[in-house]
Structures are given as structure tokens and as C-alpha cells.
Symmetry: C3
Subunit: 352 residues, 3 copies
């Protein structure tokens, strides 16, 4: 018997099964600098200690996008090592700020299972919770993923699909206890726009494009200790459908977040991801762009506002070219063109 694991297949999951993911991780200051260097993030809260302290934090918190990548990475070995595709996220809630030196552990529960009619794959739904070293829950999310079967054929399990909320209501997102936004200085953050400058329905073309290179996306994905084979093994991928490695979808999320700084520089705090899906794969050499539509705006009190945003990531094209295609696809309820790679519905905190 070979001691190396080939990962779980669809048959290995059972409803209600609890997976304590191994290799809890202490997040270092260096992890946060590396994240900045790999993504090019320019949000002030994560790179300026004085700015963080003006907002009531003792020091810069860990960017929730980085926290999500590392927490997600913990679950890969048990859940998605044999995944065909990450189908979606829902109810991603950031509950407590996480700081350098804290250690994250993740546990997942299987909350849904559904065979696909092709007999080759099934869908696994999990609810994952991340806690810090003191046991406080810092992050909770649900995702569903298409997993290969060990053996082809229908297994006649009951299909259980969980009810997933389409969003975390704006009024119930967690506001960091220490957050004191009244002294927020837009000269430091880079833009003047506050909550009430955004209008529901408004689109922001973030303009800037970032080209992905191989070592960049693989170093980022290794930083997250995400060991999914599709990102790392060219020898194996060469004989597959795309004949090349796929860029980790989470890296696309982070690049779109970086790009969104141009127009959303004050949307400092990720409070929730209401839903997300990776529409098409990305490859090294692709140039990623993003455009965002404002879905909701709400004052939460004490100067804090919440913006619900829909950011579309796309590649190798301009928003001017793609917007009409997007509108047409929406009107016809047809599929978006293959330039679209990400559809992310999320909620950020922003000063009023």
C-alpha cells in the first residue's frame, strides 16, 4: 500500500461528515508582504500602520482576501484535490479581524451531495469554519465543488442540496469591534469617494489590466499551501483539455480586488462574499481586467457604510467591448462570452 494519499473522491464523502483540516497555519507579517507583492494590492489599511491605527486597529489586520485564500487552501487536500471545478461560494462571512501571529485552523462539514447524471462526477457541498488559536471563529463559508468519482457509475445516493442564502444581509455583516471610521482620511487612501458617492446600478470600469505569469500564480498558490494539482503539474496537464496549468481561481479574485482599487480605494474591508463563481479558466499570459456594478448601498451607523458590489473579472478585452455582450447575455439569459472569468458578489465596508 502506497502511503501517499490520492485524495478523496465523491464516494468518500458522507452527509454530515466532519473534516478537521490538517496543517493549521500561523500567518506572518511576511505572508502579508508577499501577498502585497504577488497581487500588487494598494489598499491602505493593509500597508500603512498609521492608517490602520487611525481606524482603531492596534496594527494592520490581515487582509480578509488573504485570510480567505489561506483558509481555503487548508480545505483543498481533503475536499478538492480531485475536483473538476470549483462551482461556487456562498455565505462567506468575515467575523473577526485576524492579525499577524494568529494561527488559523479550519473544519468543514459536508452539507450536500449530488451525483451527476454522467456517472463520472458528483457535487459536494461543504460548510467550512476557520478559527484562530483562541478558538474564536474568524471566517465561515460554504462552497460546492464538482469531484471525480473513484469508479464510474451511479451510486444512487440521495441527492441533498442545501438551501444557500443568496447573500449575507447588509445589516447583519460583522463590523470589526475596534473599527473607528470617523477619522478616515481620504487623502491617504487615494480617492475621495465615500458611501454616498456610489449609486445603485452604477458601473465602474477599473481600466487597469494585470498580466498573469507562471511563477507569480504558482508562488501565490504555494503561499496559500493550496496543493491542487491542476495549478502545478504541467506534465500531467499537458495531456488534458487545456494542455496547460490552470491559474488558481482565488488568485483571479485577488487580482480583481487589486484592480478594483481604481474606483473603490475606500472599500477597505471585505465583510462578506455573497456568492461567487469562476466562469472560465485563466492561464499564464492572460491579462485580467475588472468592472464592478454597485448592487446596494446602506449606512450601518457610526459612520460605517456597506456597499454590495458585483465585480466581473474578464481577460484580454476591454469593458467597452464586453459591456454590450454582457448586457445582451443578461437580456437573453444566455451564457457570458469566454472572456469572463469571475463573477463575484461581495460586501465591503466603506466610510459614509
Amino acid at each position: 500500500m502506497n502511503k501517499a494519499s490520492t485524495g478523496f473522491y465523491f464516494e468518500d464523502f458522507a452527509l454530515g461528515q466532519v473534516l478537521e483540516h490538517a496543517i493549521p497555519r500561523t500567518i506572518t507579517e511576511a505572508d502579508t508582504s508577499l501577498y502585497l507583492a504577488l497581487t500588487g494590492s494598494r489598499f491602505s489599511l493593509y500597508c500603512n500602520q498609521d492608517f490602520a491605527q487611525q481606524l482603531g486597529y492596534s496594527k494592520q489586520p490581515v487582509d480578509n482576501f488573504l485570510l480567505f485564500q489561506i483558509a481555503f487552501g487548508k480545505t483543498v487536500n481533503d475536499i478538492s484535490l480531485n475536483a473538476v471545478a470549483n462551482l461556487g461560494y456562498a455565505e462567506v462571512e468575515f467575523i473577526e479581524p485576524f492579525f499577524v501571529g494568529d494561527t488559523i485552523s479550519v473544519v468543514s462539514e459536508v452539507i450536500g451531495l449530488k451525483e451527476n447524471s454522467n456517472g463520472k462526477t458528483g457535487i459536494v457541498y461543504v460548510h467550512s469554519k476557520a478559527v484562530n488559536q483562541e478558538g474564536y471563529q474568524v471566517l465561515s463559508w460554504k462552497r460546492w465543488v464538482m469531484v471525480n468519482k473513484r469508479q464510474e457509475g451511479m451510486h444512487n445516493t440521495f441527492a441533498v442540496e442545501p438551501q444557500l442564502n443568496s447573500m449575507v444581509p447588509l445589516g447583519s455583516v460583522s463590523i470589526p469591534q475596534q473599527l473607528s471610521i470617523t477619522s478616515y482620511d481620504t487623502r491617504l487612501s487615494g480617492e475621495n469617494y465615500r458611501l454616498n458617492d456610489y449609486k445603485v446600478g452604477e458601473w465602474i470600469d477599473h481600466i487597469d489590466g494585470l498580466t498573469i505569469d507562471h511563477a507569480e500564480h504558482t508562488i501565490a498558490t504555494k503561499l496559500y499551501q493550496n496543493n491542487a494539482k491542476v495549478h502545478f503539474n504541467q506534465h500531467q496537464m499537458a495531456s488534458g483539455k487545456h494542455q496547460q496549468r490552470l491559474v488558481y481561481g482565488g488568485h483571479i479574485i485577488s487580482l480583481c480586488r487589486t484592480i478594483s482599487h481604481n474606483g473603490l480605494a475606500n472599500a477597505q474591508w471585505l465583510a462578506a462574499i455573497n456568492g461567487g463563481s469562476h466562469l472560465n479558466p485563466s492561464f499564464a499570459g492572460d491579462t485580467i481586467y475588472a468592472a464592478t456594478q454597485v448592487l446596494q448601498c446602506q449606512e450601518l451607523g457610526a459612520g460605517v457604510g456597506a456597499l454590495r458590489l458585483r465585480t466581473l473579472g474578464y481577460k484580454n478585452s476591454s469593458w467597452n467591448e464586453l459591456k454590450p455582450q454582457y448586457d445582451k447575455a443578461l437580456a437573453e439569459k444566455s451564457r457570458l462570452p469566454s472572456n469572463f472569468v469571475l463573477d463575484l458578489d461581495y460586501t465591503v465596508l466603506i466610510p459614509v
Copy 2:
């Protein structure tokens, strides 16, 4: 109105205009390790705590080359997002040592403006000053950059070209107050050469070559939060003159500095950049080399010496091949061949 900014064009600048650059940055120990890893720097002052303490520093200071890259990066969004070319630097003075945990803020003043006769571009001269979180000035520099016009045509502004000093006099460069060079140990630094071993006019062929790769230069440039489009957007650059991304000129400066360790290992402290220009663009795949001519040598007292150096960066060639071409171009006052990418005139402190 799209909320994302397209950056300033020539018409947006006015003489005397003051630009407070956003996103002050706390420099972390990790930023310094990343700089070492991305450039391969081997200067002892920045990687050996004991060595730094022997020289009077409480701990390793931040390498002034890294400090310059980050400070420069702060100015890009306001000054050179639509730049055609960085034309030059002058009077770059490093005033106070900068340490890990310090936060840098940068302000620039427009000190010169000049339209080009083609009606498409103009030259913007700025004086930038960087301060730490206590308001002490740590760095001051001037640069001029060719910026696109929003609208073609002559605007008939008065041309104002500032008088720029050709150098910071060797006797007036800042010597770090804590610097105590008498116990300098050349066994630790890697070479025996001290101030008086260098002769004015002497050339050093630094021999070693470093090939640039895509993810390396883009990660370095993102580390500096420099968001100039030309380094990152292959989709856009593909239709331009070079059909590919350009390597950030500052990365070339850092690579030449690394390469110069072989022959200048004791030139630990960058005191000033007297002038610099990027002679030709570099691309991923280019191999960078450097050769240095000693321009001036001066004892500053207390065992500290200053060397004024001219480092030429060139690519894909050897100094043996290029030196005759360099001499010929100098004699004929003609343009240097396109292998030359950098001409940097700078002053370093070195033990006597």
C-alpha cells in the same frame, strides 16, 4: 462618469502644484527580504544584523535602493501613469536612515513644465520629498518625465525648465549620524578594497550577468506598489511599439547594484544619485550586466570615504565588446548602442 482614474495628463499639471501622494507605506522586514530575493543583493549591511550593529546601527537599515523604489512608486499614480518615458533623475539625496517599521509618505511639487514641439507630449519636472512617520525628511529627489497630452496641440504654456545641479557635492552628502566605520571588517563584507584602493578614471567590469524573468520584475514592481501600466499589461502592450511589457527601470538600477557587488562590495551606503537615465528599455529574457567608472574619491572624515561612481548597465553583451563602442560614442558625442540600458551617476560611502 467612471470613478476609476485614468491618471494625469500634461494639461493637468501646473507650476508650483503640490501633489500629496496617497498610500503611505510601512516598510516591513519582509519587504527587505523580498528585495533581497528579487534582486539577489549581497551587501552585508542589509542582511547581517551583527555587521549593521558593528557599524553603529541598532539593526539593519532599509537599503536606500529599496527605499527609493518604494518612494518612487508612491509618485507614479499622480505623475507618470501616462508617461511615455522617465527621462532622468537628479539631486537624489538620502538624508536619514530608514528602518523596518517606519512609514514613508511622499509629496511632490511641480518645478518645471515644457511642451514638446510634436504637440503630443510635454515634460513635467517634479521635486519629491519623502518623510517618515515622525515627519523627518529621509529622501529628496528631482525627476523629469515625458507625459502624454490629453488633447493633441500646442497649449502655449511658458516653458519653465528648472536648474538642476549635476551632482550633490561629495562633501555635502548626508552621513548617517550613527555610522561608526572604524570597526569595519572586510572579511565579512567579501572584499578588501577601501576608498584609497579606487583610482579616478578606473573601470570595473562587474562580470556577472542576471537574466530578467517576467514574474521576477513584475513581483518587484508590485512590491513597490508602482502601478505604471507598461510593466503589467501585455494585452495593451502587444499593440504598442515594443509589443511586450517593459521592465521597470528601477528594477534595472537594483539589478546593476547587485551586480556591482563584485568589485564594490564595501560601497555599502547609497548617499546620493547625482543623475541617472534609462537609455533603452529592457524586456524579460534580457541578461543585464554592469560596468562602473570611478569618477571621484574623497575622504569625509572619521574613516568615512565617498566614491562617486558611474555605473553603466547593458544587456546581452560583454564589456569587452562594448567598451570600444562606448569610447567611440563618447569621442564622437554620438548615441550609445542600444545594448546600453542605464547610465547612473551616484555617490556611495565606503570605509577609508
Copy 3:
């Protein structure tokens, strides 16, 4: 006279010669995070502070694989700048744990010299010792390397070949004084296998493959301040045998270690490298795999066990394909096929 050094040639070495390597290095937390990001390491002892403390360490120690890379890097400028090939390692002993903030210095003694009959090269044997800032020896190793001669021809030196032990006896490897393995938690480390689950002769196919990219291996090698030209200079390498840069062999060791986590997740502590050789060069684009044979198992007391392992690194192939070729080569005492890149015999500590 050019001040830049071209490195030592075979003629520059003398038996008994002591080389104090320059540029001692303070290892930072960031170096350890970078190592994780560049290699994808998932061993818990190095990324989980709580786990490290449960094992008796005050905090995460520096991974001995990283320590070896940095210590090795210190010796390159004096020993292997003009090396044709790293021929082998022996008696690599890790004596004391090394922690973030410690500074490493390395001294080597020439213990053997032997001319090759071609008159062009010779073999240099060195014994290198690394100490921390308090003078405690942390690491000791021997290696031999083929070095170019400055001038072709036989020099008629006496050939001195040192007696090298084929291994560090399992019973005499250093056990970190603080190590308290009784509370070892396999749920955190990712696998259940302890010493007695491994059988002598057993093979582990580690399954996972990691494709090497240019910026990844060059950034890693620069992190180690290893300045061997063959890894960095495409302009020069283009006209050589392989027409491209070679991946630093140490990076292959680290990648194989990462890959070996799948099946050896509890082999946390590298105690010794008994012998190692780089069988063939690796290049960017190669996908690295590994398989391990268990050579010896021994209880050392206090719940600590030692496993002597032989890890074979190979590229662009599967173990199923290569195992028969390996067995055939072993039976026929013939050369392994060129897919094999590494043969590493080493001893790790693992809970009983």
C-alpha cells in the same frame, strides 16, 4: 587590474586551506515565509507556532532544508563559482536548531584535491561548518565539486581523497534538546504514520508533481544568495551545452522534500544528509516528482524515532514508468535514465 573577482580555479585551492566565507546572514521570518511560498512546503513544524510549541520549541525553528540552502550559498563564491558540477554531499549533520533572528557564518576547509586526467578540471573536497552568532556550530557538511582549471594541463599535485562516511549513524544524529515529541498530534500534521508504520525496503510514490518556472527557481536561488552563474545568466548559457540556465540542485532537493510530504508528513526534522548527488540537470518547464525508499528505522528513545530514507527525484515521468527502469539499472549496475535528477540519502526524526 579589474577589481571584480572571477572566482577560484582548481589551482587556487590547497590542502588544508581555510576559507572564511563572507556575508554572514541573519535569517528573518520573511526568509522562512518566502521559502514556504517558493517551495510549497506544508510541514507543520515550520508554519504553525502552536504545533512548534507543543513539540517543545519556543517558536517555529528554521527548516533545516532552508538553513542548508543558505549555508551552502555562502560557500559558492569561494568554492563553486567556476564549478562544472556539484558531485556530491556527505556527512551533512544538523547539530543545533536555528531560529529566526540568528545569524549564520560559514567556514570551509579544503580536505581533498584530485586532478582529472583530461587536464581541464579537478575535484575539490571541502568540509564546511556553519555557526550561529554565539559561535555554536549548527551545521557541518562535506561536499565535492568539479572545478575548472585556470590553465589546461596536469599540475602533478598529489591526489588526496578524503575518507567519507557513507552515513551518519542513526544512533548518533543530534536530537534537538528542546524536542518533546510525546504530545505529537497527527491530526495537525496531516497523516497518521509514525515510525513503526514504515518498513525497511518499502517504497512511497509521492504522486504529486511540481513544475519549475524560471522566476521561481531564480528567486529561490537569490534568496539563498547563491551567485553561481549557471542559474542566472541566459546570455552566457545560451552558447553552452544545455543552451539554457540550470536549476540550482538545492532547489530540486527542496521541491522533492515538499513533494515527500504526501506519505512522510510526520518526518518533520531533518537530522542528517548521509549522501546526495544530482544525477542530471533540471530546467525551467520540467515537472519534478519524487519516490522514497525506507532504508532504516530506529527508535532513539523518549518517543523519538529515526528514519533513514532514500528519495529519488525524477522529472516528466511517473513512478510506474520509472520503477522498472530503476530496478533494471540497479540489477545491472548501469546508469539511471536521464529522468532521474536527484538521489538523496537522509535521516529524519519522526514520532514513534
